[in-house]
């Protein structure tokens, strides 16, 4: 059986937020790849296999909802779990995220324990 480290895609236009999420994800033994907006995220996700996507909502060029909707239409990315991380705490915002195709929703700022728990939960059982 081949093994490789799990890899998370972190999508956020704020450099500091990406660095923070990267630190939390890497603490759990995962590798990371980063993107500043939805378009860059699509490019990165298509060129490198990722196991989970952490996605911000408000970003220039392409927002998080559009990114997840687009990813869900892709054969390669359609099945990859997506966690939307947003400052918007209303139920309607969560509904929009799930309607776009997100699997989980976290409210910013994400707590280290929440990220660790989600990574455990979303760890792939079989590596492609």
């Amino acid at each position: 059986m081949t093994t490789r480290p799990f890899k998370a895609l972190i999508v956020d236009d704020a450099t500091t937020v990406r660095m923070y999420h990267r630190a939390l994800v890497e603490q759990q033994g995962w590798e990371t790849v980063e993107a500043e907006n939805g378009v860059e995220a699509l490019e990165k996700a298509l060129e490198t296999h990722v196991d989970v996507m952490f996605v911000d909502v408000n970003m220039p060029v392409m927002d998080g909802y559009t990114f997840i909707k687009t990813a869900r239409q892709s054969e390669t990315l359609g099945h990859i779990p997506a966690v939307m991380i947003s400052t918007e705490a209303q139920l309607v915002d969560q509904d929009k995220a799930f309607a776009a195709g997100a699997n989980h929703y976290l409210i910013k700022p994400a707590a280290p324990d929440d990220i660790a728990t989600l990574l455990k939960l979303l760890e792939p059982k079989e590596l492609p």
Binding site: A14, T15, M19, Y20, N58, T87, K108, P109, A111
Partner: protein, 220 residues
């Protein structure tokens, strides 16, 4: 020096006023382009929006069309033409859009307001104390690009008084790019004020380290 019995300054005022009148008159191509904004063909709507760049007489038509338009390329052309008009009504239009439900429309509004720094500055400042934290976050995102001299002071006041960690977090992220050593004491106070927030501890320490590193390198 006088011209036709008028002082130069009077002539300048006359010419300026005539130019303004000219700009307000709908010429034929503006009328046609405004009609084309409602064309069923998206390409024609986009061409019409591009043709209306800088035409003050098209302001209302562009604002109205933006309310209905769904095609991203047409919206982009409308937004660029509205930005070219740089008027208070355009600023008000985009400030209202910061509260809309569609994320892409909010992003368009942030982009547009960033393109009109002088015109939007005072209104964006008021948004820093808006009751909606998400609007305050977008206001921080807009003022980071403002070149006006008051911007550092606004950020300082925000960091001293803001209670929402996400608003402070966005300000912190932008400060790590543009902050000065004068802002380090305010940042250190944020670390104390939000001692239980893992993200703000991380972001603030990063901002301070980055600012100190930039200033220790000295002038380029």
């Amino acid at each position: 020096m006088a011209w036709n019995g008028r002082a130069d300054t009077e002539v300048e005022i006359l010419v300026k006023s005539q130019r303004n009148k000219d700009a307000e008159v709908d010429d034929l191509s503006t009328v046609e382009a405004k009609k084309e904004l409602s064309s069923p063909d998206a390409n024609r709507r986009r061409e019409a929006a591009v043709a209306l760049y800088g035409r003050k007489a098209a302001l209302s038509a562009l604002v109205d069309r933006l309310e209905e338009e769904d095609t991203p390329a047409v919206r982009e052309a409308i937004i660029n033409s509205l930005i070219s008009l740089d008027s208070p009504k355009v600023v008000d239009t985009f400030i209202a859009k910061l509260r809309c439900d569609e994320a892409e429309h909010r992003n368009e509004a942030v982009y547009a307001l960033q393109q009109m720094p002088e015109r939007s500055a005072q209104k964006v400042k008021k948004l820093l104390i808006d009751s909606d934290a998400d609007v305050r976050i977008m206001a921080v995102d807009i003022i980071r690009l403002l070149t006006i001299s008051d911007a550092p002071e606004w950020r300082g006041v925000l960091l001293e008084s803001e209670e929402n960690p996400n608003v402070v977090g966005v300000a912190m992220d932008r400060l790590s790019e543009i902050g000065s050593v004068n802002e380090v004491p305010v940042l250190e106070a944020v670390i104390e004020r939000f001692s239980g927030d893992a993200y703000l501890q991380f972001a603030t320490s990063h901002a301070i380290d980055r600012i100190k590193a930039i200033y220790s390198e000295g002038p380029i």
